[in-house]
Amino acid sequence: MNSPATPKARSELAASPGWLSPARWRRRRNALPASGRIGLALVLFWALLALLGPWVIPHPPGAVVSTTVFAPMSLRFPLGTDYLGRDMLSRILIGARYTVGLALAAAVAASATGTVLGLLAAISGRWVDELLSRLLDALICIPSMIFALIMVAVFGSSLPILLLTAALGYVAGAFRIARSLAVNLSVSDYVEAARVRGEGRLHIACVEILPNMVHPMLADFGLRFMFIVLMLSGLSFLGLGVQPPAADLGSLIRENLSGLGDGAAAVLLPAIAVATLTIGVNLLIDGLADHGRPEGGGGKA
């Protein structure tokens, strides 16, 4: 009959310290939408694992530590063993390192190069623009896997080459977006104002246009990252990926694919890892994009 929440109790609740107050909590929430925070958590999780990987692995990632291949999860092998009887947890920890490092570096390289070239094409004369556009069109027509095949055949398979390959494979897409962005920005009033002021091209490109390209390019970065992760695992399918015994997450899936029929953890776990990592990156970036958008836009229609 008697309600537990007396008025007194309520007022006490209301008087709780500031850091617990709903208002403060909400304000922090406003900083990044819920999905963005989930993304951030996932990215941090994988980044942490990638950083700490070598120090926390229970077994050497290349060592055959079990006579059972595709062993199920156990105390000794928390995530089971792989097709050779190696410890899966150790391999995933090291694999995440490769995927996070390589794919992230390649995606950054692709986006950065694309941005710079796009900017160059937009502010330089017609001929530079034509030439760059045609050249990158030409690059698009060579499927990324086949491009990778050629690169590895010519230069061998090493981390720098993989990075270069992945970056080159996706630079054309970034260029397309960056160029159209830069072209749009280069006719904006503030760029016009800078021109009328007598600013040089370099200043206009780097100081006036570039900062305003960062956000949209970031939004594009998430998908690009994802496609690079996908491409790296595709490379492992063709036997071109990271050098064994090291393996990125995609290669882990590939090398344990024969366990799929039995639903081995060794193939499912890296797949989940890849999915969570890429989804995390995209959620985070979407969140950042929403967050960074100018408030309200409250003007009239």
Partner: protein
């Protein structure tokens, strides 16, 4: 990708003093073509039906020209459409094919008697000129023949009668009948230059050939072996991805496959409709240590590496037990010339560490090249790297794509992996891969005692003494040869349970690629 072909010819034939005629066919040749294996008799092969067979690869370079065959799918295709002068039996001896007899007095001049009444698929009869054309073009460099080196020993090939061809070799070679059973020596029609379709005398006519896609063969009703073949149609494709290949068979899309990974066996076994054909063979993947470069030329290093191959682990982890322990020499236990007295070399990191220190190689970093092209070499290399670490040797695996491995990597670096297919004779094996001046002497190993024994063995007609020589050669290779052979790999094929007539010919999978002639489909 697996390459199988007889290697270089035996240029220096043994000093044959024999005066009596050499008969090309082993005694087993008396076995009738129909009942070649023990189970014969109980079942009568059913005629008709259609199967799809998948080999391990297929590409734009697929060919209908036997001279150019480079991959297992090519061999299977060629055996399906063409016939050779001789044929392998299950013990890799030569049996009569288009040739009824092959005789020689001195192992240099061979007389081939052709079978009568054999017709090509276009209805033309088989003529001695066809044989002359086939064999002659193999030694023309412009042909792009895969067996140019072997064929160059054909000093002269000529028709000497309506059904007779004479082959004069540059030097004596007792193994010619066995060599002629190889797919590259299958007989094509005189004057053929266009290989968009294949006209042969084989069990199946070529109905459709699309490189990299498929080959469709339809039963040749005029095949020279009466009653054969049994199936109405065979479609031959190549699926390079192993799990896809196995899945395709389990799903019922193909009926016969080769190159099954031991890891897939469990799944195939659990399917009631499928059966596994496993053949012990002489195929091996070996670690090659070049003897013409430092530090791999150091005997201590070589021995240390051989001790670092953890054979039991390799057998277990890589092959899941579907291989036979190797002992760093190329003759498999199944061979009658196998030497059982050599003690099995074991994994011994401490001894390896000692040897390495003795060689003055502590903490050396070395690259070992492996490739999917040399089957299982990547996994073996990975395990080797791990065990080498225990001996203080820093190996680093350089996995090379299959593309270009054989031409650019194999034997070109200090540590590489090779993959050697079975050979019909021990002599061929030793001559091709271990004789000092052979182009495929993988490690560049030079041993005069070995070379002398090889020469002597060719002229040695006493079986026991010949065996003794082979044993000593095996010891030499085991002790100081530049290759580490951890295991002999079993051929694993799998098929639909209704597919019958399968028996192993241990030169390769798919019954040594000869399945087309023998298999039939039960109801």
């Amino acid at each position: 990708m697996k390459y199988h072909q007889p290697r270089d010819a035996i240029r220096q034939a043994a000093d044959l003093k024999r005066r009596q005629v050499l008969h090309g066919f082993a005694a087993a040749g008396a076995l009738a073509a129909t009942g070649r294996f023990g189970l014969a008799g109980a079942e009568t092969p059913r005629k008709g039906g259609r199967i799809r067979v998948s080999s391990v690869s297929s590409s734009i370079a697929d060919t209908l020209d036997p001279a150019k065959g480079a991959l297992s799918t090519d061999y299977a295709r060629h055996y399906m459409i063409y016939s050779g002068l001789t044929q392998f039996d299950s013990r890799l001896s030569a049996q009569p094919g288009l040739a009824v007899t092959i005789d020689s007095g001195d192992a240099t001049l061979w007389t081939v008697k052709l079978r009568q009444g054999v017709e090509f698929h276009d209805g033309k009869p088989l003529m001695p000129e066809d044989v002359v054309y086939t064999l002659s073009r193999l030694k023309d460099p412009a042909t792009g023949s895969q067996v140019l080196a072997i064929a160059s020993q054909f000093a002269d090939v000529r028709a000497t009668g309506p059904r007779e061809v004479q082959i004069r070799l540059a030097a004596p070679n007792v193994d010619l009948p066995v060599i002629l059973a190889d797919s590259h020596f299958l007989i094509i029609q005189n004057g053929t230059t266009d290989f968009r379709t294949g006209i042969g005398t084989g069990p199946y006519r070529c109905v459709d050939f699309n490189p990299g896609v498929r080959t469709l063969g339809r039963r040749n009703p005029n095949y020279w072996k009466p009653g054969k073949p049994y199936l109405e149609e065979i479609e031959l494709i190549g699926i390079s991805d192993e799990s896809s290949r196995v899945n395709a068979m389990l799903a019922g899309d193909v009926q016969l496959i080769n190159g099954v990974n031991p890891r897939s066996l469990q799944r195939i076994r659990s399917s009631s409709g499928h059966t596994i054909h496993e053949t012990q063979s002489g195929q091996y993947t070996d670690l090659i240590m070049r003897q013409d470069a430092s530090p791999t030329d150091s005997p201590e290093f070589v021995l240390a590496m051989k001790h670092l191959l953890d054979r039991d682990e390799i057998l277990q982890a890589v092959f899941l037990g579907h291989a036979v322990l190797g002992n760093d020499q190329p003759v498999p236990p199944s061979s009658r010339y196998y030497c059982p007295d050599i003690p099995q070399r074991r994994y011994d990191p401490d001894r390896a560490r000692f040897l390495l220190r003795k060689a003055g190689l502590p903490r050396t970093r070395l690259a070992v090249f492996a490739s999917p092209a040399a089957e299982y070499s990547v996994d073996i290399a990975t395990l080797l790297q791990e065990s080498a670490m225990h001996a203080g040797l820093d190996l680093h695996v350089d996995r090379v794509p299959p593309d270009g491995y054989w031409s650019n990597c194999w034997m070109k670096h200090r540590l590489t992996f090779g993959n050697i297919n079975p050979r019909p004779t021990v002599d061929m094996l030793f001559s091709l891969f271990f004789r000092s001046n052979s182009p495929w002497n993988e490690s560049g190993w030079k041993n005069s005692r070995f070379d002398a024994l090889l020469l002597a063995s060719r002229s040695e007609r006493d079986e026991a003494r010949r065996k003794e020589m082979y044993w000593e050669m095996q010891r030499l290779v085991h002790d100081c040869g530049g290759v580490g052979i951890p295991a002999f790999i079993n051929f694993i094929d799998a098929s639909d349970r209704r597919l019958r007539g399968y028996f192993p010919i241990p030169i390769g999978g798919l019954m040594g690629y000869n399945f087309a002639e023998y298999v039939w489909l039960d109801e």
